[in-house]
Symmetry: D2
Subunit: 477 residues, 4 copies
């Protein structure tokens, strides 16, 4: 046993799991034309462990097992361990062209959160179970995701509130016996669930006494009887309107996971009725998971900085003062995220005996990138210009009766080919989406065009106001 | 003659024009499965004139012609005329579900800009020609768009700069005789051109003496020999993944228009070599066109406010303080746009004898909506939540084995049906696009979740800082 | 009777009123070395009526009285009246070097709000009393301010809440007989009260049944027995450290007004126990008063634009791109305020038969200038540079052993004298205050210096990110 | 020799230096009623070294000298040294109630920048001189400040540009012989210079060949013949209008330093004509000095957070949602500054063999606090309310005829005394200054009052917009 190869991982997914995509049952996710693209993205994690240049980062020697394991399943001992795991996620996401592979990281966040909770409770059963499960994951190198967000129903009401339309909006225990539990409910937004081996199911909020049946955490294989998943649609392929690209497309999908009275054996149950510990568990998961989020947003942000600079250069405006200011803003966005995230590892705190990233800094870092993201997108769309939306497609470009004209008219700065520019527009559209936003920015003239006009038109007002204050300051003419 | 019906307008488009879409020649734009949806959007302008409830707004009696004409082609006499035209665009765009019909408005902006320029030059030939053309437009109720933005090449260089890769980046005169001109070049981002009757072609920048051949303005039918158009791709239909909707889809497309040595008769030439007047022309066009832009963004912004409030209510969070703050911000965005735009009409100035909206206020209004738009999108995506991206599709919803579960689990507040919520997500996705932005906001917890955590985690720091300043202020314990 | 002269107004203030300033009783406010400067500021309103160039704006003919009265006491009939009153406040504040004279405007806001409330209640007694009082004000041209904000105590509690430390935090009726009322309480932040003839006392919040005694509105002369005022300190004079300036200093002070069981005759009582009407009254006052606020902030904002441009020019940086962007931002700030405020008059609504400015637009305009003000101050301090804080004083400048050196070393751009620059710094310090803010901006280098460094230092990162996305877009090297 | 006591430092200042303050020559800065307050502030650095609880932080054992020296003069060896120096500045500034003592820190920044420059040049003379000078500073524990910013004249012109009004806007060499140099010019904004022992004079910009005489760096005692200083005015005392406070006032002043052909011996010259090294020197100084700036702004920001929370509590609004949001924003401001600054130390780079804080992160941190500061001030003034400006003074509070009423009416929440609240207003006014800003925020109602009104007034518009999109989404009524 030990580390799995990418192929072993892919083979493991043909296990009878019930997955729907675009209204159809998927037989084998690894063989489906679209979902397999997500599988390939997750497989990057396994490939890294096989590549010598990443091995030191991706793999650690486990003293107890005497074998090599994924770094993700290694229990961190100090800030340096947190930083290495952080660096691993950054490197993996760079390799994934901005997509985190996801095979182990979120699972590891849940694993450590469950350990902290068990330690905090001092519940030796749970401690033993989670350690056994950690060992199982290490030895089998399984892909595990965390299933956290319940569908919630009315968000203003608690899970057990009788005013909820029904009692199943949050995963809960509907029956139990000496072998285990029966659970029911639905989890939403579960990225990678369709092609993970196991799920860590944990509560998504604090619970009261009345919610005791909802205070339940467990791990379960994806193909367990009674589990069905519905995936959100995604773009698995470069379209025929875009320039072809031999680089693999990277993408993930998220699942709605429905639990129809699913059986969970006791040895996989890590919380069951200890309502106050639900908050501890979700708090610690959120904390570590937000750190994970900060890590993988760094290569995403590098990509944003890259396309901003590239298209500004291709359009020939990279040295205009307003363009430099926008580039500078994106640098500040990226490097603030990086510094805050690293500082969060170094200024770590210890919960339940396990080092975790600094909670204030981590949350500020996560808030920073979420809150500032739209401004970065705006800057990119501003620098790209209206052609981002209106440029002819690759299909037009191929037409003999249009090819030469598109080559001629869509070129810009000497030294930049038309193809180069059109390819960059394709990439930016794949990243920043919304046509409307670009049209709103550039329709009737760019924001900078308006600013220049405002300044020019206001010259008379400006001069009058200046004269007024010169009189007030008694400045002689 | 006089006002055209919507059907007459559609019939007029089958005129041999050369249009490409997604790499294929379009035979008749009004009959094409996709482009006809744009044609229907433009036809809303003609329908309004036929509908009694809009007739007073859409139609004016022309004293000279003794017949009713489109208000757009009526030369404004005062601020009230400007405001009525403004109200017409707002009403038309509301009717177009957020899309301005575009049959006359941009053409009218160019028409008036050309009139101002001719008056300012005092060139009686041009004045006579533009008046004759205005009469022709009134009598034939033609759909006209303005073709303004050239493809530009290196934007740091003037049109005639020999360092440009070639001399055709801006439309220019390549030959002339006693009948007219031959022009060459390409215009980009020309919304509605594929289904307009005529184009107003005007310069997009100030020109110097050296650029005299580029200082050219004219009107020309869309099917003139030598003109080819390439349309940008667009979404003409509700996809099978979305809930069906009997309401017509509204959308436009933009053209790259290539002019291969196209002949323009002198009676349609409104500028030819008067290089200094190029600035006057584009300045006045930009000014009026930005006012048009402000007008049609009002119903767009009403739509944004509507979806924000609707989804906040459906999700059951409309009364949370942070949700109210976001709704208030969108109200401020909308009403600031409305007030600035109206004030621009009322504080109008007069150029070349024609009243035009206030240049400072108009540019501020246009800048306001462009600059603030991404913040509004962020607020909507924030209020909508991650389900905006991860909700099951209509195809999943229809599947017998999933239908009941989706009904059960995707419901939220009592009194709001699951279908209602899913339909609103469909609409918001059609408006705000980008998956990534929503994922960045909500992945690992919403921004508000982070803010709450930051506040909670910082309580100790806050208390210490408070104690520190109480000591500094000598406040007794 | 009829319009008062400025001198008559000043003479009227020596009426035995009880006013404290900096811990001392003021005998006659019009004769006090500091408070008289405020009196002179208020007198600008009376001077305007005497000056021919302002007479049309400041004065209207009252048909009923057959004499000329202050425009402020004219009941507005339409949007045009609102706009003229608005223009009057703008002109008066320009004349006051950025300070609104305040003799009638806030009083007029209260007068009209009381009229609307009486009309809405349909209370014929109140209607008769307020009309009689309006006539009295017109005929005597009195200076009236509104006393609105109570000291409040615990703001989370209602006025009558027994948990309040005492029952006097809001003005209320403590006794009544057939002649009138006795009232007790204290009002705070009452600008101009120390040198007004009368106060309009109205509630500052909505009231419930339990608060009936607090739902009281009345007018009262400033020298009524039992009324004491405490003024906040202010700067009435150019200091010896500043360049002398023959232009009069303009300034106001605000009062804490204490009512010690003050008698109010019934003919001056406009609300007494109608608890629901308290909300109507304060709502309408706030609405009109915010419009007044928007008006006088326009000359204040013109002053801000003026000093920004002046000091940028004097420092020789007015044409640097980042300086132009800051100036443009201030233009947008000013013109948005102006357009919103004017649009609020034109899109007026009618309450209680009286036209009032549009409530949404007015509140947006008021929010706009308050929320954006600190950004404008930052821009000015940024453009002014650290010398704003560190420049030598006029006292140093006068010293023979320093004069020549200060002249030599503090000069900047050719054509700008050292005195001119130092005078402008004096003015800006008087306007924008805070030393600390300037030091925070400029200590260790200006914000723009940091941005330039960030950009320069990040060049390598930018290039790497660009290379990364070029690989992702398959752009050949 | 070795560490100086605070008294020794103060005694050392009576050295004949020429200092002007408010237009008068200061005989002995340590004995002057105002300037001595600054001297006491600088003396905090010396006191720290004497206090056991700070000794480990403030003092290091110098192996070469075999004695204890100030940590500031210890050459940093690694990131940990950078962090300890950072922590020292934070601790010192906390002790200084938000004022950095300044005795050694800026001098140390210049010292290290000169060392880096000498090492980079590989100039063994300079290396020997700077090491000798470092030893001298260590042994004498001198207070040294850096004199960097020249008065500049026309900022668009280089120092030697003949278009400058004269050649003395930047310090430069006017003569030289075998003993040393004669220098002339003026430095501005030099904090602490009036009470430092020595100045490090270095260029403030990059130089060209033509500017070779301006590329000069040296150290010089403050009392050297030909040096005169003019101090900016400052507030050295709590005014009689404020509540008395036994805590010492902390403050600094900045000097204009005029150099009238001052002699500098060669052993104190560290750059002379190597024009390209001027950029290296100022770059490295700015980098280290900005890190220093980040450090001392942390206690300043803690103070801002403290007063925000204190006054919100005293006013009884600390738990209102909008107040919590403002507090959260200040927490984010403070903690982002702290994390960025610490990350800059840990991600240090090495220049000229000496570790320096990360340039990108340091500049982002410095930009962050400067750019965001006005928003924090706005939040504090918003939470404090109008009383910040209008509250009665201590002089009024003491008056027998007002005391009881002020006690009664200015109280707010139970458990908070009136004195406590008034003292906190005093402190906030000392920190945030500007009356005008508070009046702009709160005049005519707080920003939150307007937001609430906007929301309430827009309810109808909101509902209409919602209905519109429900129709667009075909949601059944």
């Amino acid at each position: 046993m030990g580390l799995k190869t990418a192929q072993q991982y892919k083979d493991s997914l043909n296990d009878g799991r019930v997955v729907y995509y675009r209204g159809q049952r998927v037989e084998n996710v690894a063989a489906h034309p679209d979902v397999s693209v997500c599988v390939d993205t997750m497989a990057v994690d396994y490939e890294m462990a096989e590549r010598p240049e990443y091995r030191d980062l991706a793999v650690v020697h486990d003293a107890e097992l005497g074998e090599e394991i994924s770094r993700y399943y290694h229990l961190p001992k100090d800030g340096d361990d947190l930083l290495k795991q952080f660096d691993l996620i950054v490197a993996a996401t760079r390799l994934g062209d901005g997509f985190i592979p996801l095979a182990h990281d979120i699972g590891a966040d849940a694993l450590n959160a469950v350990s902290i909770t068990a330690n905090t409770l001092g519940n030796t059963d749970y401690i033993a179970r989670i350690e056994a499960y950690r060992k199982y994951l290490k030895q089998n190198d399984l892909a595990v995701v965390a299933a956290v967000t319940d569908v919630k129903g009315d968000r203003m009401l608690r899970p057990s509130d009788p005013k909820q339309s029904h009692g199943d909006y949050y995963i809960h225990v509907v029956d139990r016996n000496d072998k285990g539990l029966l659970v029911r409910g639905a989890k939403i937004h579960i990225t990678g669930a369709a092609y993970a081996n196991e799920f860590f199911v944990i509560p998504c909020r604090a619970m009261t006494e009345a919610d005791a049946d909802y205070a339940v955490a467990f791990a379960i294989p994806a193909n367990t009887k009674g589990i069905r998943q519905v995936c959100r649609p995604f773009h698995a392929h470069i379209t025929p309107l875009e320039f072809p690209n031999r680089r693999p497309v990277r993408v993930h999908t998220d699942s709605l996971i429905i639990f129809d009275d699913v059986f969970v054996p006791w040895e996989r149950v890590f919380l069951c009725g200890e309502c106050k510990a639900a908050a501890t568990l979700v708090y610690n998961f959120a904390l570590m998971h937000r750190r994970t989020g900060c890590a993988y947003r760094i290569p995403m942000s590098e990509q944003l900085l890259g396309v901003a600079q590239a298209i500004a250069e291709y359009n020939g405006v990279a040295d205009a003062p307003h363009a430099r200011e926008k580039i500078t803003d994106i640098v500040i966005y990226l490097e603030t995220l990086r510094s805050l995230s690293r500082a969060a590892c170094l200024d770590h705190v210890t919960y339940g005996g396990i080092p975790v990233p600094n909670p204030v800094t981590t949350n500020i870092a996560k808030y920073h990138f979420a809150h500032g993201y739209h401004d970065v997108v705006r800057a990119i769309q501003d620098l790209a210009g209206g052609l981002l939306v209106t440029a002819p497609t690759f299909k037009d470009y191929q037409l003999p009766e249009l090819h030469a004209d598109i080559e001629k008219y869509l070129s810009a700065r000497t030294g930049v080919s038309t193809e180069q520019r059109l390819r960059m527009f394709d990439l930016i559209r794949r990243i920043t989406g919304a046509d409307r936003e670009t049209i709103v920015l550039h329709g009737e003239g760019s924001p900078q065009a308006e600013r220049i006009t405002i300044y020019a038109e206001a010259r008379k007002t400006i001069a009058e106001c200046k004269r007024m204050v010169e009189e007030q300051a008694e400045i002689p003419r």
